[in-house]
Point group: C2
Chain length 141, copies 2
């Protein structure tokens, strides 16, 4: 029987505070404040052709947090019950993707640099690469 989804967390945008003065701008993110987890792994993604799509997977347990630190990139975050599409074009906004979120990133600008923060070390068994399998796992969650 399909659950109501009450146990499925929602992906969401999170504002990151920025402090600016004549010496430049400083954006801050802190665990248990803006970041809902402690970071044990990070990716820096760049030089992505504008017609390419990246992501196309979900994690069973790993939390992720996406920050576009240069340029812009579009992202879809889908928890099997609802889907949001956002344009990330500032380091002052992060996209939080809880476990069991299917993610896709696309429309990278030429200067785009996407920072991906993850809660866990690499574990291939935590990845779900097939969307139908993802929906099955969500339905049983």
């Amino acid at each position: 029987m399909r659950m109501s989804g009450s146990q499925i967390a929602n992906p969401r945008l999170v504002s990151l505070p920025q402090f600016g003065d004549s010496r430049g701008n400083l954006v801050v993110g802190e665990s248990e404040k803006e970041l809902p987890f402690v970071v044990r792994r990070l990716f820096i993604v760049r030089d992505v052709p504008s017609n390419e799509e990246r992501g196309m997977h979900a994690h069973k347990l790993c939390h992720q947090f996406l920050i576009c630190v240069s340029g812009s990139v579009s992202a879809i975050a889908d928890n099997g019950l609802q889907q949001i599409e956002v344009n990330l074009d500032s380091p002052t906004v992060g996209l939080y993707m809880p476990p069991l979120t299917w993610g896709k990133q696309f429309k990278y600008s030429e200067d785009a640099v996407l920072l991906v923060l993850a809660s866990d070390a690499f574990d291939e068994s935590d990845y779900i690469h097939n969307y139908d399998e993802f929906l099955n796992v969500v339905a049983k969650a």
Copy 2:
């Protein structure tokens, strides 16, 4: 009596692996591998005029790891016994700054974005803002 410095860790450059293909380039950093700590806070620094200097402080306990994710920036890391000056111009290289490292960042390029990863939440009492005080603390470490 001044210690030999054997307990003072050295700041150092760390290579971050990069995986590239037709879909772009992905740089990876993982705790207990490239990153000597778990990340509980991060800063994103940008729009810094090229004649400005940032940093100019040390931490008593907090570890930091600097990655220039766009453009370039020069950095000095000084543990009171030795000083290194580096030019950070690629996300594939990080500058690890152990506790009790005096840091200064300067010569930001116009497009520079500096990512600073930190091991601890914000704590004003962990900061040392005076260089002579820093040298005194190092001497007693």
